[in-house]
């Protein structure tokens, strides 16, 4: 466990809710989407939050560390520069790939849980770690499909990844819940088997079901089931931080504060 990096309860900083985030009670840290920020021209709001001493963590979505191709060093350098400018305790991305053969998927695509894919992922993560000046964390994603012929469970896959690279885990309980709904995964078993001592922080987000498929929309309220899953995680370990992700249809400040309060009550 990363006790030295105690973060508390946070929220994803987005430009649309910049003033709201600045004023929300009970925000101990924020996360920014790395690709949306220019390290040389940080938004005034982010600068203000940093001046207040709030940790600001860059979270990338485009490194594609799970891709078969080597990672794009420019993207990693951007993340590294941002982490440096923000004086961030860590940076993160997802266990996924977002491009292949010169095409961008526009979505976070799951990585086949094979040894061969793990080797590629490990190599890419090591490249990222070489460039970053801060620890690197990787997030489990919500997938709508699974590659066939998996050689490892998700817990084994992530466990070996952290073991071989020393990377941290960004555990998204909402993604776990989505996978439980859509892929019949057992989230409790996953929590039991994950190397929770490697948890950097936790993501919580809302979603909604459409036509029998649960979508991790980040635009809906957090479901009680997701908060229950957070509580299950907390039973097993005390995460250094929990962050509310909201990416659209932003509700009132009061509602956002209530969601943060609900998260705090679970930890």
């Amino acid at each position: 466990m990363l006790e030295s990096r105690e973060l508390g309860v946070g929220i994803g900083w987005r430009p649309e809710i910049d003033i709201t985030v600045e004023r929300l009670p009970g925000v101990d840290f924020v996360e920014v989407v790395a690709e949306n920020l220019n390290p040389d021209h940080l938004p005034e709001s982010v600068v203000l939050l940093r001046e207040r001493g709030l940790p600001v963590l860059p979270h990338a979505v485009s490194l594609s560390v799970g891709g078969a191709e080597p990672v794009d060093r420019k993207r990693v350098e951007h993340l590294a520069r941002l982490a440096d400018v923000l004086d961030a305790p860590l940076a993160s991305d997802h266990v996924c790939f977002v491009r292949a053969g010169g095409l961008d998927s526009g979505h976070l695509m799951p990585v086949p849980r094979t040894r061969e894919a793990l080797d590629v992922l490990v190599a890419n993560v090591r490249t990222v770690q070489e460039i970053l000046n801060v620890p690197f964390a990787l997030e489990n994603i919500a997938a709508l499909l699974e590659w066939p012929d998996a050689e490892l469970t998700e817990a084994q896959f992530l466990g070996e990844l952290t073991e071989r690279t020393g990377c941290l885990l960004l555990v998204d309980v909402a993604n776990m819940y989505a996978n439980a709904r859509n892929l019949n995964h057992d989230p409790l078993k996953l929590l039991d088997d994950l190397p929770l001592e490697r948890v950097a922080y936790v993501h919580v987000a809302g979603g909604e079901e459409h036509d029998g498929v649960y979508h991790d929309t980040h635009t809906h309220p957090v479901l009680p089931e997701v908060l229950d899953l957070l509580a299950e995680l907390v039973k097993r370990t005390k995460p250094p931080g929990v962050l509310l992700e909201r990416d659209g249809d932003y509700p009132t400040d009061t509602d956002l504060a209530a969601e943060l309060r609900a998260i705090r009550e679970r930890i």
Binding site: P15, E16, I17, D18, I19, T20, E22, P43, E44, S45, T219, D249, Y250, P251, T252, D253, T254, D255
Partner: protein
């Protein structure tokens, strides 16, 4: 040769110049009086919408409505002034303007106020507020050319006299150079004087705006913005965010740009005047001194 009308050229020029000044002043007074309708009801408090319309026309009404919606957490402002709808705000529109503004922001989120203004320029809400203000003598709703022509009547009369003297002088072979110049000046002044009298607060309306007892005294953003524009939004961060979104707003009465930024507030483009071009003082400097200098007489 006998002087026409018993007046020498220089004497006529002097009299004409004096008449020109008097006609200009009279036209100014008449235009101003046209804006000062009798008061229908004194000391009736102004609503926020009425204050806004009086202070800055329909754009200010939009501003104060936006301020209210932001304060009620229906619309969210980004630091750079872009507007977004707040989801699940429980918003129930209290006016057509509120309904339209929220719909616009929801349909096209992430844009500044000025982006939405053009589609909000014709709403029944404005007519209702304007008519009420006019009825109460607080607002002059703009004059037709007929009303402007009526106010310019002294100048017309002066021009007719001048033209008659000029024709007579030409027919009798007198020099008419100075009179010609004065006539041209008079005609130019008439052109300016015929501009429609602009809409705006009457004197009573201005006093009502200045008198705090006539408005709703509260800490509400809507009241502050109604009087002074978005720069007066009580929350300094949000006020600054409105300042960030640069706007080029047009006042509704004459289409002229009246503000380059929300910070400047949206207001009337200045009261009416006879004419900025009718500088009667210099125009009368011709004088007409000296014999035979061309006043249509010797």
């Amino acid at each position: 040769m006998q002087n026409p009308w018993g007046l020498s050229g220089p004497d006529f020029i002097v009299l004409y110049a004096i008449g020109f000044v008097i006609a200009c002043v009279a036209t100014l007074v008449l235009r101003k009086r046209a804006r000062s309708a009798p008061l229908a009801a004194q000391h009736e408090p102004l609503t926020a919408d009425e204050t806004a319309y009086l202070a800055g026309g329909w754009p200010r009404m939009v501003e104060s409505t936006l301020a209210d919606l932001v304060e009620r957490n229906v619309i969210r402002v980004q630091r750079n002034g872009l507007l977004y709808p707040v989801a699940d705000s429980g918003f129930v529109p209290e006016s057509t303007l509120e309904d339209r503004l929220v719909s616009r922001v929801a349909g096209r989120p992430g844009r500044p106020l000025h982006y939405h203004l053009a589609t909000l320029n014709k709403l029944p809400d404005y007519d209702q507020v304007r008519d009420d203000l006019v009825r109460r003598g607080l607002l002059f709703d703009g004059g037709t050319r007929g009303r402007a022509a009526l106010a310019a009547l002294p100048l017309f009369v002066l021009a007719v006299i001048g033209i008659a003297r000029w024709i007579n002088g030409v027919n009798l072979g007198f020099p008419v150079g100075y009179l010609s110049m004065l006539l041209i000046l008079t005609l130019v002044t008439i052109v300016f004087a015929l501009r429609p009298i602009k809409a705006g607060p009457t004197g009573a309306g201005m006093r009502a705006l200045r008198d705090p007892s006539r408005g709703e005294r509260s800490e509400r953003a809507v009241d502050a913005v109604a009087r002074h524009g978005l720069r007066a939004y009580p929350d300094v961060t949000i006020s600054a965010s409105f300042r960030e979104s640069r706007v080029g707003l047009r006042s509704y009465d004459n289409g002229s740009t009246v503000s380059t930024g929300a910070a400047a507030g949206i207001g009337w483009s200045g009261g009416s005047s006879c004419s900025s071009g009718s500088s009667s003082g210099s125009s009368s400097s011709c004088g007409g001194g000296g014999g035979g200098c061309g006043g249509g007489g010797s």
